[in-house]
Symmetry: C2
Subunit: 446 residues, 2 copies
């Protein structure tokens, strides 16, 4: 009896184990998936001649088109256009500016004429002269409301689940995962930690000079458009050396703009190295373009160089069985943690503030995000049956009124004690190790 | 009997335990030491209202005068002068340049005249136009031969043991420790990992534009003097935001050049924060200067602001019982691991290369450094009785002839298996878990 019960239990566990053994479940079996796994196994095996010590395990990722969707417009361009429209509504005199006029009428040609002069002008209007805090607030507000025109998802949800798995897989194997993107460094830092699990100090992007002063006694950093550094093409190896100071051993890109950093990673590197190009071949689930992207960089010379350089070329349509995290079929949707966002109604038995309630959202990629009422909070979580545990949760650092700060502290302390969860009647209970409900949350109506 | 034996053992262990419990043994008891420990305990205690999650635990350190000795000249200035002399010997026509002449005759006034024009000129001669690899080699070669004029120690040994302990203590408590210095970023990266345990990607310093190209098919980064960023005064908060993108919660400096980053760290920070100034008050063991430093930045306004800002002011003479790691009394010197450097004579029973032998040096701060014969190797080690273990050892990444690369691999693999050590007749044996000597080393003659 005992013996056969054990067998039953083992059998029941098998699919879970098989899944747990696959670090890249959104990748179909094939050359691309094998190449990634084989490289990681080789450089992390101490007995292998290609073993690389942890401090040297640096992986760099382009962002637009490599980690998130860049079509029909790179999201930062959509942000600039939306901001110009919003600002012109508040200040109609802005419409006298031909560049603003071009945005409002959708005249892309006018914006790109004369060396992208119009585009630079609207970038200046929406970026320069703002403090870092003001700029971050604007990007944050925009991300919460803007949606991708085709997928009707927030822009930071049109991210590639297969690439999220690569990020997590590399980090679990001692790699630092860096973004090296032509996009704005400050822009990416607003969402990258919550979206990709990449901390601000591991984001390299285009940027300009900042100015610092004590303004009315308050430390203030202001964005300018002076000394612009463009983190694209030859700028990428330059940014890598300036910010990291080590040569990466793995590089992931999708366009000719990434060719210099692919070469820098893989040509004559005394350590074993790996290069990968994400090729957009999937018109059905995303987009198909190489030499003719809707608005971003082309993929021509890097693709041509790939065989000689032994770079892995990913065929999205063939290699990926999932695209965006939201597109993944959810199990047990009716009672799923992940099907909705959750608003805290009690903490340690006390009702939350009538107007400002902490909230949490759990995604498919094992990341929880939300708000303490004052600050954003985010980090990893794992679920195993009824057990739930949170990894190190990071927060932003705004100060708020005393009652909300107190609620924040209580919420964070309670989260630290959560051991299991239960869902009943659209309510999520987070319980401590003694089985007491320390936070109760209700499903947000959608 | 049993009972009393246990007591004896416990008693014998007591001093060791007391020492192990003190994270800052080179600090005398007093306000400065207490302030550091109290802050770290407060922000790492999950039940404390001042708890700070790990990702927010960022500490920033000035380098010159805060981590290492900056008198009578900041070491990088000594490097520039030595390099000019070396280069002028190789190319006598250089002496026609008035700035070079001023270095050779020790005419500091001429160098500093006209807005430091002469100094910038010699900095240009010694830094610009070199590839990063060439520059790193020159700094490395200089560090190996140059010595401090008073202490007769290599410059990367005139580092403050009490501050090394603070670095280690913070890292052991989940902090990232960053250098934010007016010194050259590329210059500091050559030694900071080995000297302070600070990785290149956590070093912010003054820097200029780099250029990237495939030179004869080889990825090459070249230093220029364009777009110089001076990481001093208001430049420090700017550098912090550009490289880290988070506000630090702890800041350590020693001059008015650090005042802006001390203010940025501690004024209106929604998280608990800590500021510390190292005050040079020890003419006997180091130097005493505030408003009149020999050649570096003054400490006047920051010192005046300290009480109001609640910055801890360290009195070197009073607060520190040790200065440089070499100055620490060594226990058991005759048979000490740390009293000499060690050259490998056999690896796994095979004699090492007749001309190129790997070597190791163990310092008092728990760091081992050395060479594989081709590459530098460094990282943490711990000793407990006859037991020895190495933490993650990092290496530089030069390629060498096949026989030396093979020796490097064998040396690294053998190091990974070391469990205990023994010293006999000026020979160090590193043994594996089975008690076999897998590396034998001889003490270098000095």
């Amino acid at each position: 009896m005992k013996h056969s019960s054990l067998c039953l239990i083992l059998l029941a566990l098998l699919p879970a184990i098989a899944r747990a053994d696959d670090p890249l479940p959104s990748w179909n079996d094939g050359e691309s998936k094998s190449a990634i796994i084989e490289f990681v196994q080789r450089v992390t095996d101490e007995s292998h001649k290609d073993f690389v010590p942890v401090p040297e395990r640096i992986a760099v990722f382009d962002n637009d088109g490599t980690l998130w969707c860049e079509a029909p417009l790179p999201p930062q361009v959509a942000f600039v256009f939306d901001e110009v429209k919003r600002m012109a509504k508040e200040k109609p005199s802005m419409k006298n500016d031909p560049a603003v006029q071009a945005v409002l009428t959708g005249d892309a040609e006018a914006l790109l004429a004369d060396g992208h002069k119009g585009l630079l002008k609207v970038a200046a209007i929406t970026h320069a002269g703002l403090t870092i805090d003001e700029f971050n607030d604007r990007v944050d507000a925009w991300l919460k409301t803007a949606t991708h025109p085709r997928f009707k998802l927030p822009y930071n949800s049109t991210i590639y689940l297969p690439m999220l798995e690569v990020l997590e897989y590399l980090r679990a194997n001692g790699f630092e995962t860096w973004i090296v993107s032509g996009g704005g460094q400050d822009f990416m830092r607003v969402f990258a930690e919550e979206t990709y699990g990449i901390v601000p100090q591991q984001i390299i992007g285009s940027h300009a000079k900042l100015e610092y002063e004590l303004r009315d006694g308050v430390p203030t950093l202001t964005k300018t458009l002076d000394s612009i550094f463009v983190d694209d093409k030859e700028g990428k190896p330059v940014g890598i050396e300036r910010f990291i100071g080590r040569r990466p051993i793995a590089c992931f890109g999708n366009s000719d703009g990434d060719q210099a950093m692919l070469e820098y990673t893989t040509i004559g590197n005394p350590l074993p190295s790996f290069g990968l190009i994400v090729r957009h071949t999937d018109d059905k689930r995303e987009y198909a373009y190489d030499s003719e992207p809707p608005s971003s960089g082309r993929l021509v010379t890097a693709l041509k160089a790939a065989p000689e350089r032994h770079w892995t070329v990913v065929d999205m349509a063939k290699d990926w069985n999932s695209m965006f995290p939201q597109g993944k079929p959810m199990e047990n949707k009716a009672v799923s943690l992940k099907a909705t966002s959750w608003q805290a109604i009690t903490i340690k038995g006390q009702p939350t503030h009538p107007d400002v309630k902490p909230d949490l959202t759990f995604d498919e990629a094992g990341r929880v995000g939300g708000s303490t009422g004052v600050n954003r909070i985010f980090g990893p979580y794992t679920v195993d049956g009824a057990k739930i545990s949170f990894g190190q949760l990071a927060t932003t650092r705004r100060a708020g009124p005393p009652d909300l700060m107190q609620q924040e502290t209580q919420f964070q302390q309670a989260l630290g004690k959560v051991a299991t969860y239960a869902i009943e009647d659209s309510k999520l209970k987070l319980l401590d190790a003694d089985g007491s409900a320390i936070i109760e949350l209700s499903a947000n109506e959608e």
